[in-house]
């Protein structure tokens, strides 16, 4: 049997805080958290990036979606400690200063945001999709966004936004 190291000792049931080095949007942030802290709480409350939204807190609505090593992940049901050393991207990574990226612009053009609460999650799921599949069909988009709920039910314009962003003949709407 392997030697159990001090790091993993069970002695003392206290939940010790840990110092984590989190890589968020290409920057390394050192944060001190208890193991119970979710990735979402770390991003919003410890690092102060409040673009990622806190919705259902049970992994259903997708508002908290961030990219972990390029894959869409629900930050409300993922522990911060499990994500140390991984490449995490949030919605703040998309724009360059005040310049929105092509996908965000397309959401504006199509009216892809209504109340806007689901938008950060939608943008991150769409970003992951477009990185894997630059010309997704409407069906591909529906599939990729299955885990993101829009309570305003503005799905059609969100799908249109992604079709426009992937340059597939959908023209900006005159709003």
């Amino acid at each position: 049997m392997d030697q159990i190291t001090d790091r993993t000792t069970v002695n003392g049931k206290k939940s010790r805080s840990r110092v984590l080095e989190m890589s968020i949007n290409g920057e390394t942030h050192e944060i001190t958290v208890k193991p119970r802290v979710m990735l979402l709480e770390a991003i919003r409350d410890k690092i102060g990036l409040t673009g990622t939204k806190d919705g259902c807190e049970s992994g259903t609505c997708g508002a908290c979606t961030v990219l972990v090593d390029g894959q869409p992940t629900l930050s409300c049901i993922s522990l911060a400690v499990e994500n140390e050393g991984k490449d995490i991207r949030t919605v703040e990574d998309l724009a360059d200063g005040d310049n929105l990226n092509f996908l965000q612009e397309a959401f504006l053009d199509q009216g892809g945001t209504q109340c806007g609460f689901c938008t950060p999650g939608m943008l991150m799921s769409a970003t992951a999709l477009l990185e894997k599949n630059p010309k997704p069909t409407r069906d591909d988009i529906n599939k990729a966004l299955e885990g993101n709920l829009c309570r305003c039910t503005g799905y059609n314009s969100i799908v249109d936004s992604i079709l426009q962003a992937s340059d597939q003949g959908v023209k900006p709407r005159l709003l």
Binding site: S58, I77, S78
Partner: protein, 341 residues
């Protein structure tokens, strides 16, 4: 965000170290895999472990490998998404990819694991609720109360929470075998025998055991398989009725009269375990499928399903969906008949 209760978080680097830690830290410890079911349940106060043991740092637990003598070996930490795209799975057991794809949403599949799906806790309207909700009424049986609130009589001493995994019924139909490891030793269990049918204690894994491997036997490779899932929304939700079917159709290529061999039908979301419909193999093995036989099989499956009003959907409707899906699954098997042997 309401914080979770505090716990100690351990990251062993070998599976034996994990087993030792799990034993040493006693009954209030839990192993975390994808966390997609465990963490929401911790938020609701359903689980409140003092110690959470992560398997992430242990190498090779995510591996999916084809072994020419034994078959397909799936590591417990393999994500459902990784099964959907794995070349060995698509070649030998495409139905595993199909069932993995039916789970949750893209984000959930990216995180959720095979081990978690197999060991999934049963679900019920009276069980998966917040502590405040629970405090408004007498406790449900699974949370330490006297009787099951889901049972129509209100006096049942058995828990009727529903087993709601999509992948597990397919693995049962494929005769998968799992390995459980603890500091006391290792044992192999047929997945079919793993589930008890008791909602309060749905499987035979002891608290100090860790699921370390899933084996789908080589003999099952190439068998036809299909999984049909019914849920409220066409994404995210757990199944409220599911049908997994595996079978072989043997006979000459052009013949319409192919004979059924090795049939297995498992229904999910309508009982406290993935339910093997035991009357199906004696009814169908060695016979050629026709409409009357399929009708009889679908009625058997419908009869075996005993859903209660403790998850989405109306009971009679869910039973009917088991019937419809069973028919549809057999029809798919016939349509695919020309490609399988």
């Amino acid at each position: 965000m309401q914080p979770l209760p505090n716990f100690q978080y351990l990251e062993p680097e070998t599976i034996h170290e994990a087993a030792k830690l799990l034993m040493d830290s006693g009954t209030q410890s839990m192993v975390i895999s994808g966390g997609t079911d465990m963490l929401p349940s911790m938020r609701q106060g359903i689980f409140s472990p003092d110690v959470v043991i992560s398997l992430q740092a242990i190498p090779h637990l995510r591996d999916v490998e084809w072994d020419d003598t034994e078959g397909l070996k799936i590591g417990p930490l393999a994500t459902l998404r990784s099964l959907e795209t794995n070349a060995e799975i698509l070649q030998h057991f495409p139905v595993i990819a199909e069932a993995a794809h039916a789970v949750g949403s893209p984000q959930l599949r990216e995180m959720a694991t095979v081990g978690g799906n197999i060991c999934l806790d049963t679900r019920c309207y009276y069980y998966n609720q917040s502590e405040n909700w629970q405090a408004c009424d007498q406790e449900c049986l699974k949370l330490g109360g006297e009787t099951c609130k889901a049972a129509p009589s209100g006096r049942a001493k058995k828990c009727f929470a529903v087993f709601s995994a999509d992948l597990a019924p397919v693995l049962v139909a494929l005769d998968a075998r799992i390995t459980l490891l603890s500091a006391r030793g290792e044992r192999h269990v047929d997945l079919r025998e793993f589930y008890t049918g008791d909602g309060a204690a749905p499987h035979v894994k002891a608290p100090d055991e860790i699921l370390t491997s899933v084996l789908v036997p080589k003999q099952m490779a190439g068998i036809f398989g299909v999984y049909q899932k019914y849920r409220i929304r066409n994404s995210i939700d757990y199944p409220i009725a599911g049908v997994a079917l595996t079978l072989r159709l043997n006979g000459p290529d052009k013949s319409a009269k192919k004979l059924v061999k090795d049939v297995c039908l498992v229904i999910s979301g309508v009982a406290s375990k993935p339910l093997v419909v035991k009357k199906i193999p004696p009814l169908l093995n060695g016979k050629a499928l026709d409409d009357a036989l399929i009708e009889e099989a679908a009625l058997l499956a419908k009869k075996a399903a005993l859903p209660l009003a403790n998850t989405g959907g109306e009971r009679a409707h869910r039973k009917q969906m088991i019937y419809e899906f069973t028919k549809k699954a057999f029809e798919q098997a016939i349509n695919n008949g020309s490609q399988i042997s």
